[in-house]
């Protein structure tokens, strides 16, 4: 996530120009603080939409691994679920059920010995998922050490040189060692 920080220069002047939208030339609103009052939703939409036109074109971006296209039907389903909180499993039991089915589908796909007992969950991305995997490894190791009467205070992990920065991010979980 972008961390707003005084060391990062702010973009532009303190005022955000509203012109030339909707013949409002000359009108400005504050860029870094809340405007005094309300504005019509169409104007607010247009200001944000127009500013985002400066972002790169995802179709021409061969840098990212992240999906930049989905079918309209998927987008429609997503729009229908923006307001459902994953953690409210009691309120949204079918969303929770679909998560459970996805875990079973992946367990089968990856040849888990007993996919009927599929164990796993969704996360915000693969970094959080990798960290949860690391936490489970660390706890298993601590239990083994405790059972052997040995200290569990200096865990390490082994990774290759091409390990992504997420394994450095989990350094508080264990110390990565690379060849």
């Amino acid at each position: 996530m972008t961390l707003a920080h005084p060391k990062t220069p702010r973009q532009g002047k303190d005022e955000l120009g509203v012109a030339p939208l909707f013949s409002l030339e000359g009108m400005t609103i504050p860029r870094h603080s809340l405007p005094d009052g309300e504005m019509p939703p169409d104007v607010a939409y247009q200001i944000v939409h127009d500013e985002l036109m400066l972002d790169g074109n995802a179709r021409l971006n061969v840098a990212t691994f992240v999906s930049t296209w989905m079918e309209p039907q998927a987008e429609k389903l997503m729009a229908e679920c923006f307001d459902k909180n994953m953690i409210d499993k009691d309120e949204y039991p079918q969303t929770a059920e679909l998560e459970t089915r996805c875990v079973a589908i992946l367990s089968n796909l990856w040849h888990a010995p007993n996919a009927d007992e599929a164990t796993g969950c969704s996360t915000t991305g693969s970094s959080e998922a990798a960290m949860l995997g690391g936490l489970a490894l660390k706890r298993r190791w601590q239990k083994r050490r405790a059972a052997d009467g040995k200290p569990g205070s200096s865990p390490t992990t082994g990774t290759s040189r091409c390990a992504s920065s997420r394994w450095r991010a989990s350094v508080s979980t264990s110390r990565p060692r690379r060849p």
């Binding site: 790169g56 179709r59 021409l60 061969v62 840098a63 990212t64 691994f65 992240v66 999906s67 930049t68 989905m70 079918e71 998927a74 997503m78 923006f82 909180n85 994953m86 953690i87 499993k89 009691d90 969303t95 679909l98 996805c102 367990s107 990856w110 888990a112 010995p113 007992e117 599929a118 164990t119 796993g120 969950c121 996360t123 915000t124 991305g125 693969s126 970094s127 959080e128 998922a129 990798a130 960290m131 949860l132 995997g133 690391g134 489970a136 706890r139 040995k150 200096s154 865990p155 390490t156 992990t157 082994g158 290759s160 040189r161 091409c162 390990a163 992504s164 394994w167 690379r178 060849p179």
Partner: protein, 268 residues
Amino acid sequence: MKLCDENTIGVVAILGSTFDGSYEPVKEICAALDALERESGLDIPVHVDGASGAMIAPFVDPDLEWDFRLPRVASINTSGHKYGLVYPGVGWIIWRDTEALPDDLIFWVNYLGDNMPTFALNFSRPGAQVVAQYYTFLRLGFGGFRRVQGYARDVATRLSARIAELGPFELLTRGDELPVFAFTLADGIENFTVFDVSNAMRERGWQVPAYTFPENRTDLAALRVVVRRGFSHDLADLLVHDLERQLPRLQKQPAPVHDATTWTAFAH
């Protein structure tokens, strides 16, 4: 292996590298750890970071053993929003069995009168991505995923071959594992850098990242192309055409303009 000792909680194998798209040899890593266990008694589990490859290999490399078929693999993570074909942010972590996830890590939430197991670093997030993942599984099935990922790999290998034919470039990988490949400049090219190439491609709107490799190979600078759903043979042809058009100007410039120090760091 020589870095593993009694304090090693696990070894992370990566399928595949974000630097060049290659798979790490998960089976061989497991075999080496099996040998270590025979010699020393150390039983070290493996976690596979399959951020990209765990949604590629099952469909286009079904015979590659990298998953729970290997008894030492305790857990696998992937990114639903990469080759899981969903918009950002969804990821998945799957454990081999209930033994691999210690019970005391599970957080039982008494939520609105029901007791639910959870395990996460954050709490509230929208259900949209998980629903979209399920839609994608339903919509494509195994055959659909095989078609989509197979096409991405066809585009990647054909595009890498065409870039190699241009002359000034040398492929580091071909895009035949992940549909991702890296290439660098051929020996003897001193008057422009991969960073200049990346900059020239931006003039037409292409974002082709240039970066230096990690420790032990920081002298190696490369360009990388990630082919994913929506990047067709047609777009690949346009990319090659634009690269071809930029080359005469780059080849005429007297000296490099950009190097790693004048370039915005790229991290993925």
